[in-house]
Symmetry: C2
Subunit: 297 residues, 2 copies
């Protein structure tokens, strides 16, 4: 695939995902309020980087991306739940997300907590209910198990706990990396893993893709920190400079901006190196690496 074809592929997959998400909510036999609260954040847009990683991984193995659609929706539900809960007054207390009022600002705190709980629980239902004959039961169970690990107390939740406990403290680079490896890294890794599992990847390929995704995840976070200094508020959809204002420890604060950019380049290069080792058609995944390195929102 050339660059234009890759962009078209990603655009198509994003559209497909965004067309599917409303159906999953619509079919729920549940009170209107909770469905609206779940939809509000799920359909608020965003980069959809996690589902796109899954589709790109499937493509890299020559598989039809549609086999991964339910898992991609489940991943986006988990990601959305984490944003809703992170934004709550007792957590980050954010009023805006992607340029729109946060969930609890619109629906109130109680409903926002429940919308998060609902999305988290429903994600597992969506995977368990997949009726695709191409997916054997053992793969389905592995997808559920790994999703729970990536999202739960050993994964994303651990990262959020460490983030909260690190607030106002001078963290080491190691502590900062623990937070990012868990808070954002685990779900990014899961997105690649899920694609590879659905494509029946060999153990060695799983291993290389795991390391690929680990570097990509850190690169993603470093770019986030840089954008909070150099980015445009309009493009990001939230205030810039908040890290410095909140005295948050970031890659630039530990390494200087130049040091952070160097580290970003290092992780992108490592990601690409492990991508090569996996011996797959890496055109789309490699493009995503460049996207992560240079994104402006």
């Amino acid at each position: 695939m050339n660059r234009a074809e890759v962009e078209q592929f990603l655009q198509q997959q994003k559209q497909r995902l965004e067309e599917s998400l409303p159906h999953y909510i619509a079919r729920l036999n549940a009170p209107g309020t909770i469905k609206r609260a779940m939809s509000y954040s799920l359909e608020a847009g965003g980069k959809r980087i996690r589902p796109l990683l899954l589709f790109a991984t499937l493509h890299s193995f020559g598989k039809e991306p549609d086999i991964g659609l339910p898992v991609a929706c489940a991943i986006e539900m988990i990601h959305t739940y984490s944003l809703i809960h992170d934004d709550l007054p007792s957590m980050d207390n954010d009023d805006l997300r992607r340029g729109k009022p946060t969930n609890h600002k619109v629906f109130g705190e109680a409903m926002a907590i429940l919308a998060g709980d609902g999305l988290l629980t429903y994600a597992f239902q969506v995977i368990a209910e997949m009726s695709d004959a191409r997916i054997v039961p053992a793969t389905k169970i592995r997808l559920i198990e790994e999703l729970a690990k990536a999202a739960g107390p050993e994964g994303m939740v651990a990262g959020q706990v460490a983030d909260i406990e690190g607030e106002g403290k001078q963290l080491s680079l190691e502590q900062l990396e623990y937070i990012h490896r868990h808070k954002t890294g685990k779900m990014l890794q899961y997105s690649v893993l899920a694609g590879a599992l659905l494509a029946d990847a060999k153990d060695e390929q799983l291993h290389h893709l795991h390391t690929f995704a680990s570097h990509l995840g850190l690169a993603f976070q470093i770019r986030d920190d840089i954008l909070d200094i150099e980015g445009s508020e309009e493009k990001i959809g939230k205030r810039v400079g908040s890290d410095i204002e909140n005295k948050k420890v970031t890659y630039p604060s530990l390494l200087t901006i130049a040091g952070a950019k160097e580290k970003l380049s290092f992780h992108i290069a490592e990601a690409k190196r492990y991508l090569q080792k996996a011996e797959i058609n890496d055109s789309v995944l490699s493009y995503i690496c460049d996207l992560v390195a240079t994104r402006d929102h």
Copy 2:
């Protein structure tokens, strides 16, 4: 089994469950705070009625209860997460639960939300990771699917939403029943269903046990409402009379105390009638019906 044997059976299963729960938390590779917050509520005791229903159902099919231990632990994790979130200031704002300070009173709101999220997610991991050769993959997937349905936006979450939206309103009996059928009923039903699925029950038996559990769930809730009027604070571990004080719509408020007691008897009788139809060894489940009807905490 005679009454003494049934009591011994239930006591043994409860003990087994309570010995297992700490191991599930201990093995987690997660920050100490979140493990302590999860344990605090998970190991706070309680009646353990849901796990006991699962073990009793297995027994009624002549199965060893140990086959259900991981699912029983997962059920108790989900139940505990729901209590932690329900107690939050933006929900019921409760300071005490089972005579102890609520989770957010000890660990703070952010950690309580995360402990709930962690328990909810981990519950699915625990089922997905079961390595018992007696449980085929299709059963495992069904157990996960039904758990997500019972706990999620079509189940327990729907009940909590309806409960919040009904606050301060004059509800009809139908609306009150919607709340209870979802908020407590769905997880009680799941506990019986999970036991029956693990015992390879026939479809007809599943059907009768589903109706049995539905009546038992309502009976459980009616007894709860009666206890808030007639119960002893010391035995319940929380304040009595709070429903009247908060002008909460309950079975006694809609039907009078005598009417509520009559309805309780009706649902217990119906539960027992459907239990008979299932053609199983009903000694333990029948005892639990009597326990629910007469419990003082």
